[in-house]
């Protein structure tokens, strides 16, 4: 069943001739890990902003559970590259923040916080201060917070973009685990081709000028990892590499066409 439905979405910012997004359509279901891949300026952040309810569409429909998306809502949690954590709250209170706002009783709050911190591997870090944590750990807290709230989909805005390569790979694996266990749809944007291929159950490639979908594929590498294949084995698999190079070539070609046009 699809949770989010986007039908011929276009966004044009005031005063700009070129639309940021042009006729973008997609669906996101409970079992999906949909990744939008593209260079900067391709409109992927705009797309995420529309799904989150921060940006109003110029044309087209954005539906969540059949209802038009008009504003931010708890069913669509956001995880940013810069975690957006609140430094005056400790880790547990940050995770509980949304629950508290929503008036969830204390006992249920504590249970959800413990559960989700466990899920992201931070079971013992609840009392730590977020400004003492590493970037990767902060990102885990951000994910736990998004999961703890009553979200049904996670919208992730380049969540691992600011992390070093090792931590990023760890977090990719963590995300796959969390996605499978939490049974939530994930929409993730990235400019990292490997990351997109490794994570996505459905991958859309966006190209700038105007931002539009130029390719849709359904990679299976994430499922292979969840079935037990090690991450390095997958990423060095000739099949993986070939797909990576094809996508890269496509992005380069799209950019050249844009430069000519």
């Amino acid at each position: 069943m699809s949770l989010l439905q986007v039908d011929r979405l276009s966004v044009r910012y005031p005063g700009q001739a070129m639309p940021a997004l042009h006729q973008v359509s997609l669906t996101l279901g409970k079992q999906d890990l949909l990744v939008a891949l593209g260079p900067s300026g391709c409109g992927k952040s705009t797309l995420l902003g529309v799904l989150a309810g921060f940006i109003k569409p110029t044309a087209g429909d954005v539906l969540f559970g059949g209802q038009p998306v008009k504003a931010p809502g708890v069913e669509r949690a956001v995880v940013f590259q810069n975690d957006g954590l609140l430094p005056w709250l400790n880790v547990a209170d940050n995770v509980a923040f949304g629950l508290k706002l929503q008036g969830v009783p204390r006992a249920a709050r504590e249970r959800l916080v413990a559960e989700n911190l466990q899920l992201v591997g931070l079971a013992d870090a609840g009392q730590r201060q977020v400004w003492e944590l590493s970037g990767g750990m902060r990102q885990r807290v951000g994910i736990a917070r998004a999961l703890a709230s009553r979200s049904q989909v996670l919208l992730m805005d380049e969540p691992f973009g600011a992390l070093d390569a090792f931590t990023r790979e760890q977090m990719q694996q963590l995300l796959l685990q969390v996605w499978r266990q939490s049974e939530r749809g994930v929409f993730l944007i990235t400019h990292d081709i490997e990351e997109a291929l490794f994570l996505a159950t459905e991958l859309i490639v966006l190209s700038p000028g105007p931002g539009r979908i130029i390719e849709r594929i359904r990679p299976v590498f994430g499922q292979r990892h969840l079935a037990g294949e090690p991450v390095r084995a997958i990423k060095s698999d000739p099949e993986f590499i070939e797909l990576r190079e094809t996508l890269l070539a496509q992005l380069v070609r799209a950019r050249q066409e844009e430069a000519v046009a």
Binding site: A52, G53, F54, A71, P72, G73, V74, R76, A77, V78, F80, N82, D83, G84, L85, L86, P87, W88, F97, G98, L101, Q102, Q129, V130, W131, R138, R145, S149, R150, L155
Partner: protein, 281 residues
């Protein structure tokens, strides 16, 4: 083999150049340096008097001022002890500070959140902010009389501007990302204000209060020009009229010490309330 290795003649090591003698590495704590600097000034002050370079009428030596400080606490000056003068000034400062925070913080939040409020109030604030308090003191006296209210009002106006502007700045610099995240977690506008914007602006608000207190102290003497019978500012003023330079100096030292103590207390408060401030994020 590299060229360098071939041409290097092992016997002709570059002789140790006579290194320039660096200052002896003294490892003193910052507090020690501060103490040295203060002690030097006091020593110089004493020397100037002892050598007879400056008559005691203009610059009474430190020991006289210290003695005066003691007698001020017992027999007082102008019908009040030093403690009573200090208490009077502190009461005015406390009232003015409380009022400045009660007015300045909410107003600053409104200006920071609503652009319309900013457009409306910005010119008024920028009009009054650079005015020297002594310039509008006569107006305050004409409008509000010579009572306690006028004195507090003058100090209040001096504290208000920094508190207000710091709050506006603090609110405006709260990360939009945090606000967006809070919205997706179900925050209402009110919750956004209480749980994201105000705590986020707190470091700036505290800095504003620190700066405001400094401005308040510097206005204290002007405020107590107006028909006061007590207060450190009043004590200094009237002592000056009788050329009681030792009392003037004693008053200055007390004001400096109290202001410094407050600054330290506020810095400690800031570290306690906003330990994340200045750390990453």
């Amino acid at each position: 083999m590299s060229v360098q290795e071939q041409t290097w003649d092992g016997d002709e090591l570059p002789a140790d150049k006579p290194r320039r003698r660096s200052l002896p590495s003294v490892t003193l704590k910052p507090a020690h340096w501060a103490l040295i600097s203060v002690a030097s000034v006091v020593a110089l002050w004493w020397l100037v008097g002892a050598a007879g370079w400056v008559p005691a009428l203009f610059l009474p030596p430190p020991q006289d001022v210290a003695r005066k400080l003691l007698t001020l606490t017992t027999s007082g000056y102008m019908d009040a002890t030093l403690q009573q003068h200090l208490l009077a000034s502190l009461q005015r400062m406390a009232l003015a500070l409380a009022a400045a925070v009660v007015i300045g913080v909410p107003l600053g939040v409104i200006i920071g959140v609503y652009p319309l409020a900013r457009h409306l109030l910005d010119p008024l604030i920028e009009f009054y902010r650079p005015l020297p308090p002594l310039a509008y003191l006569p107006l305050i006296v004409i409008w509000c009389g010579i009572g306690e209210g006028s004195k507090v009002l003058l100090i209040l106006l001096a504290i208000l501007a920094p508190v207000l502007l710091a709050t506006v700045h603090g609110v405006a610099s709260v990360s939009p990302l945090r606000q967006q995240v809070a919205l997706t977690l179900g925050a209402s506008r009110r919750q956004l204000l209480w749980h994201v914007i105000l705590p986020g602006a707190l470091p700036d608000i505290l800095t504003g209060i620190r700066i405001g207190l400094g401005a308040g102290w510097s206005t204290l003497v002007a405020a107590e020009l107006v028909a006061a019978t007590r207060g450190l500012g009043f004590m200094i003023q009237s002592a000056a009229q009788f050329l009681a330079t030792d009392v003037v100096l004693a008053g200055i030292i007390v004001i400096a010490l109290v202001a410094f103590a407050m600054e330290l207390a506020l810095r400690a408060l800031q570290r306690r309330l906003t330990p994340w401030h200045g750390k990453a994020h």
